[in-house]
């Protein structure tokens, strides 16, 4: 289905809105989605109870994580919450750490992680153990922090593919992914993980600043030559510029519909038909997983630097239902297993 120029203009305008909301520079970030009016309510601290300092920007998602994390931790730890904003400085963070003297710091989102990295640069250690959540490609950034571990924010391909396999009748054995050189290592890791579930991840590397033609050529290669069963779209903003989506991705994907799994909910849109499915972090479950990690650190001597970064265990799924029904051999009986339906 080729896009007419009016349609393309509409798509571009829509995408500008969608992508502007979800993208910054470099790897896609999803924090600070919407400010939340209500404050974070801590219970009063108790004498002799170790504290956990939670540093986070205020958003719908960070609040969800915080809520679940606090529920799990508060019987054993005093949870002290400090929201950060663009005004917060490393010195502010240093004052908080000195005042609270936490047994552990939980950093939620890129902003909190970056502030903590700056704070660590300015002050000689030792530093309390830190657990980082909701930070983009944390495993690749971990070396910026001392005595830190965390949970990756990106949903692993293996989780995505196994879910996808359960949603459609068509086989999902080979999955294509377009990536820039920066993400080659990440794709290689994901290929290894996907092989555990007998899914072959087929990568196609484009340049650092690809144009629509490169995207179309990559998709053509993956779908026609490699005959992949699905496309997995990485959360890389450079590949998700509105112009690339309208003139690159959509042109090819509408001609040759196969399941397309994205990692940003707003890219599943019943007017665009770009992402047919999205697999997103389950923020409530992420809070529980983070609490597990804090308890594990407490039992093992708070050696965060020696504790591996975990992969997120839980996802929420989104479906473009009309598209999936018409084009992708969707299994109707799995509709109840999907978190959000777009139609």
């Amino acid at each position: 289905m080729a896009l007419t120029s009016r349609k393309a203009l509409g798509v571009l305008l829509l995408l500008c809105g969608v992508v502007a909301l979800t993208c910054a520079r470099g790897p896609a970030t999803r924090d600070v989605v919407a400010p939340v009016g209500a404050s974070f309510e801590d219970v009063p601290t108790r004498p002799g109870v170790p504290g956990v300092l939670v540093v986070l920007p205020s958003s719908v998602h960070t609040r969800e994580v915080w809520h679940s994390l606090r529920d799990e931790l508060q019987s054993t730890f005093d949870v002290v919450t400090r929201p950060v904003s663009s005004e917060t400085t490393p010195a502010d963070l240093m004052r908080e750490v000195q005042a609270v003297k936490p047994r552990c710091v939980v950093l939620i989102g890129n902003q909190a992680m970056n502030l903590y990295a700056q704070y660590q640069k300015q002050v000689p250690g030792p530093f309390p153990p830190a657990v980082v959540l909701m930070a983009s490609f944390f495993e690749q950034q971990r070396s910026r922090l001392e005595n830190a571990t965390g949970i990756a924010y990106e949903i692993p391909g293996i989780t995505t593919f196994v879910k996808l396999r359960s949603f459609v009748y068509r086989p999902v054995q080979r999955v294509g992914v377009i990536h820039r050189p920066l993400f080659a290592g990440y794709v290689k890791e994901q290929r290894g993980l996907a092989a555990v579930e007998k899914v072959e991840l087929v990568g196609y590397e484009v340049g650092d600043e690809p144009g629509p033609y490169q995207i179309r050529r990559a998709l053509d290669h993956l779908t026609r030559r490699e005959k992949v069963d699905a496309i997995w779209v990485l959360n890389d903003n450079v590949l998700l510029k509105p112009e690339l989506i309208a003139k690159g991705w959509l042109k090819m994907l509408h001609q040759n519909p196969i399941p397309v799994v994205v990692g940003v909910g707003s890219l599943v849109d019943a007017r665009l038909h770009f992402g047919s499915f999205a697999m997103l972090p389950d923020h409530s479950a992420l809070g529980l997983q983070a609490a597990n990690l804090v308890f594990k650190l407490s039992q093992e001597g708070w050696k965060a630097g020696a504790t591996p970064v975990e992969l997120p265990l839980s996802v929420q799924s989104v479906i473009d239902l009309p598209w999936a029904r018409q084009r992708l051999q969707f299994r109707e009986e799995t509709l109840d297993h999907i978190d959000r339906i777009v139609q």
Binding site: S284, L313, D339
Partner: protein, 253 residues
């Protein structure tokens, strides 16, 4: 921008602002009335709180039960803590696994049955080989956070026949158990036997089943009020097989 000679214009603007204020106030008042009516309506309806780990999403289960139980309010909780918070609001009835009801000093007055029994077996699922009982205390085990951290730890220890539970990786949903095996974060995961087929269908891993001797109570309904008993008992007994299947039972007694 107007800078002078604004007398009539200012009066007109003031009048427009007054009109707008009137309408805003009226709309707010109407909204408040509507909201309080809705709250009153919701409070008057008998309330059923549900806490079950099924493959059906909470949203879908809530919609299904609400459809099957017209005139009532159905709340499906995904987390144990949300369930206990709802229990604190004294619902008219609560539907959960028997051990969950027991942990909250509730008695299942209506018991779910499958294959004629009100309990079901649980198993360990692991990759490549079954788990020898002698290793139970040293494995890392994935389990759904059924009863909160302490309650689940005790629940797991009981199921494994141990005094102290092994290290547990808690998850919120049963579907999150498979990733623990895929990422090799756990040696085995604990789940009801009825979920084995579904999990095996999802995965290409060589999943092996270790049966456990202790059985666990199936979903049951406890009544918190007489209204709850009067309203929900017939509604639950009349549930169709599709709904019962999604709740993990065949019938109720």
């Amino acid at each position: 921008m107007m800078r002078s000679g604004g007398g009539p214009a200012l009066r007109a603007a003031a009048s427009a602002i007054a009109r707008r204020r009137f309408w805003v106030t009226a709309l707010l008042a109407a909204g408040a009335l509507l909201l309080s009516a809705l709250v009153a309506f919701a409070q008057e309806r008998p309330r059923l709180v549900v806490y079950l780990h099924t493959e059906v999403k909470s949203r879908a289960l809530e919609a299904l039960l609400a459809q099957r139980m017209p005139g009532t309010e159905v709340i499906v909780c995904g987390r144990y803590r949300d369930f206990t918070r709802e229990l604190a609001r004294t619902p008219d009835a609560a539907l959960a696994l028997e051990p969950v009801l027991q942990a909250n000093a509730l008695t299942g007055a209506l018991k779910g049955l499958r294959g004629g029994r009100d309990t079901e077996p649980y198993v360990l699922l692991s990759i490549g080989a079954t788990i020898d009982a002698a290793r139970f205390s040293t494995i890392v085990l994935g389990a759904v956070d059924l009863l909160g951290r302490d309650g689940t730890t005790q629940f797991v220890a009981n199921l494994l026949g141990l005094e102290a539970s092994p290290e547990i990786k808690f998850v919120i949903k049963s579907e999150d158990l498979l990733p623990l095996l895929q990422f090799q974060s756990a040696d085995a995961v604990l789940l009801p036997e009825r979920e084995v087929v579904r999990t095996k269908n999802l995965s290409k891993l060589d999943l092996q089943v270790t049966p456990l001797a202790t059985r666990v109570g199936l979903p049951a309904v406890a009544f918190g009020t007489e209204v709850g008993r009067r309203v929900f008992r017939p509604l639950v007994l009349a549930l169709d097989s599709e709904t019962n299947g999604k709740l993990g039972v065949d019938t109720w007694r």
